[in-house]
């Protein structure tokens, strides 16, 4: 029983990180109807900003950790908006496929620029938050896992409030529903799209820091696998749907952890993707997605 609880906890803390990254994919898809493949590399840049900022603040303090987290989120928000401005906005009226290819290009650009600037060797991420282990019976909870879960939940609640309770959130939903009608209603689409990218990238940065806290070896290609998993999580939950992305991330993280802990650990990615296929067979729009018929 305690093994089960421990695995559940491990899975949830991994899943919470997937969920944070998945939110960025899903928000951009919701607004622009394309997959921003560079998102997973913004996640990597977030971890590296954290690595350099972590050297400026004293190790193992709560305020220091939060300052690093904030700095990485702001840095990546700016990076995300810059990418959108330079790479995607000029292609706004081009077919989605062109933007998709550009996104892959931006992703590779970030990865290999990262290798030039940061070097390809893995680096040790500093312990920016205080580290302590709590034990509940046989279940050991590390403070990093608590931080991952708390920060993720707080950010998801904040995101939900932004999207449903603020003016810019209303504008985001308007653009998502019908971009042309939104312009006619006086929404400045460029500002909304820019804001969406900033918000998504900030979440990716938070994901990057939390991931690096739990797995403290970071390198410029660290975003590839978590990015892919988060992308799957976004589709699993129903792409374009914010609670769906969170749910998808949690499911994927938990399943992956339970498979890793069994005798089939070599197949963990295969099983995670098989689950995706099975769910999509029965619910083509994802768990929480609504299937809409394209109007001709």
């Amino acid at each position: 029983m305690s093994e089960f609880l421990q695995q559940l906890l491990n899975g949830l803390s991994l899943g919470a990180i997937y969920a944070l990254i998945a939110l960025g994919y899903t928000m951009v898809y919701g607004v622009l109807r394309f997959i921003n493949f560079a998102h997973s590399d913004v996640f990597m840049v977030g971890a590296f900003i954290g690595y350099y900022m972590g050297k400026l603040v004293p190790e193992g303090t709560l305020w220091g950790g939060l300052a690093v987290l904030g700095a990485a989120m702001i840095g990546c928000a700016l990076l995300g908006m810059t990418i959108e401005r330079l790479a995607y906005r000029p292609l706004r009226s081009a077919p989605t496929l062109n933007v998709l290819i550009t996104a892959i290009g931006v992703s590779l650009l970030l990865e290999y620029t990262g290798q030039v600037f940061f070097g390809a060797a893995p680096r040790n991420f500093p312990a920016i938050f205080p580290v302590r282990n709590f034990s509940l019976g046989n279940v050991i909870i590390s403070s990093n896992q608590v931080i991952v879960i708390v920060v993720s939940v707080v950010l998801m609640v904040v995101l939900q409030l932004i999207v449903y309770r603020t003016k810019i959130g209303t504008a985001m939903r308007a653009v998502s529903l019908n971009p042309k009608a939104a312009i006619l209603m006086g929404v400045n689409n460029d500002v909304v799209i820019s804001f969406t990218f900033g918000l998504g990238s900030a979440l990716a940065a938070a994901g990057g820091i939390l991931y690096a806290l739990n797995y403290p070896s970071i390198d410029p290609l660290m975003g590839v696998m978590p990015g892919l998993k988060a992308f799957v999580a976004a589709i699993l939950g129903g792409i374009g749907n914010i609670p769906g992305a969170a749910l998808g991330g949690l499911i994927l993280g938990t399943v992956e952890t339970f498979v890793s802990g069994s005798q089939f650990s070599t197949y963990k990615d295969a099983i995670a993707f098989a689950i995706l296929i099975i769910i999509l067979l029965f619910r083509p729009a994802g768990l929480l997605g609504k299937f809409t018929v394209e109007k001709v």
């Binding site: 093994e3 290798q115 893995p122 282990n133 050991i140 403290p216 070896s217 890793s260 650990s265």
Partner: protein, 382 residues
């Protein structure tokens, strides 16, 4: 059908006379002997590549300072394989076909050596694997040699160490399924440990590049083993140790020479304290050849202490130089035959005698991490 005009003969003679001074100039500056290395200079196994390259470069510089080989200078070329599978084959093809190297010194992770070996074998270019311990490497062909011990020996050493030194009965294995090195070492360890009366109670698996081992470790913890053997490479080993300590696992964790890298201590920090691994040499050894090597290495690389992989790189290059000198030529088959008959060649990592399978037997050293430093525990001779 008249005989060739004498004018042509005359002009040919004149041509030859014209080129004579150039030929003399060429003889004055003999063509260098090119030796190539493929190594992960970047990526998650970068420590192996960087350390072994430093060792090889030190050996090449020494050889050139002594006048080179066969009166020709040695030119060293290195290709980065970026810790990626698939790159070794490309790098070795390029070194052989474009650069025209006479031999390849290289191969750290066994998987890379296994990729490069068939190409060297086909081109009849001798290859000396530096720290690839998987037995299959030299079985790839008659031109493939190695400078280090093999895993059938290392696995036996680890099993004996676990039984006699750690006094453990029940061991759990953590194997990297995508590294032939790890798979082979786990298998040999299991055989010898069971034969010595121990029990391997479980084997958990992961893949190269994984970062989350909590699931596997939680499953192992529930089985209450006496120790954990992690047979993969240092990046994963460091993460395994730190996640194990996070989960409250205080058991000894040990591994093979794949742990040998300064990054193990950097990435693992306090979590790797009290861990053990087997390796090829100890910088604490009082042997005069080891002391001399360390002094030269520190003088060349601003005070850095060489690790086992650097020592093996140095030895591998000198093994090749010895073979070329004895062969008296750089032709592939002759150098191969000279390498195959190497007897008692003195090196930093012990004496090398190449056996019929083109392997060598050398002593293994068990080390432990204590107070942030790697310390000698015991030496096991074959």
């Amino acid at each position: 059908m008249r005989p060739a005009p004498s004018g042509l003969t005359r002009s040919l003679t004149r041509c030859a006379l014209f080129f004579l001074p150039f030929a003399a100039a060429l003889a004055a500056a003999p063509e260098p002997i090119k030796v190539g290395q493929f190594a992960s200079l970047t990526g998650k196994e970068a420590s192996f590549g960087q350390a072994s390259r430093r060792g090889v470069v030190l050996a090449v510089e020494e050889l050139n300072a002594r006048g080179g080989l066969l009166g020709r200078p040695v030119e060293f070329l290195v290709e980065d394989i970026q810790s990626k599978s698939g790159e070794s084959a490309t790098a070795v093809k390029k070194l052989i076909a474009r650069d025209g190297v006479v031999a390849i010194v290289g191969g750290n992770a066994s998987t890379n050596a296994l990729e490069a070996a068939p190409i060297c074998q086909q081109a009849h270019v001798p290859m000396i694997a530096i720290s690839s311990t998987n037995p299959r490497v030299t079985a790839m062909g008659s031109y493939i040699f190695r400078a280090c011990f093999i895993d059938s020996f290392q696995g036996a050493v680890l099993a004996k160490f676990a039984r006699d030194h750690l006094h453990v009965q029940r061991v759990a294995l953590l194997t990297s399924m995508s590294a032939p090195y790890s798979v082979g070492l786990s298998r040999v360890f299991r055989e010898h440990f069971t034969a010595a009366g121990g029990e391997v109670i479980a084997e958990q698996k992961y893949s190269e590049g994984d970062k989350d081992f909590r699931a596997q470790l939680t499953a192992l913890k529930a089985l209450a083993p006496d120790a954990i053997a992690a047979t993969g490479y240092y990046t994963e080993a460091a993460l395994i140790c730190s996640q194990a300590r996070d989960l409250g696992i205080t058991l000894p964790i040990f591994g093979g020479d794949g742990w040998e890298a300064p990054q193990l201590l950097e990435l693992g920090g306090k979590a790797v304290e009290g861990s053990y691994y087997s390796t090829h040499y100890s910088a604490e050894s009082p042997a005069p050849e080891v002391r001399a090597f360390i002094a030269k290495f520190r003088a060349r690389y601003s005070g850095e202490t060489p690790d086992a992989v650097a020592a093996l790189g140095y030895d591998a290059m000198l093994l090749l130089a010895d073979a070329i000198t004895r062969a008296g030529t750089t032709a592939g088959p002759a150098v191969r035959n000279a390498l195959a008959t190497t007897k008692e060649f003195p090196g930093v990592t012990g004496h090398t005698t190449i056996d019929a399978e083109r392997n060598t037997s050398k002593p293994a050293i068990i080390v432990t991490v204590k107070n942030g430093r790697v310390q000698f525990v015991s030496a096991v001779t074959p």
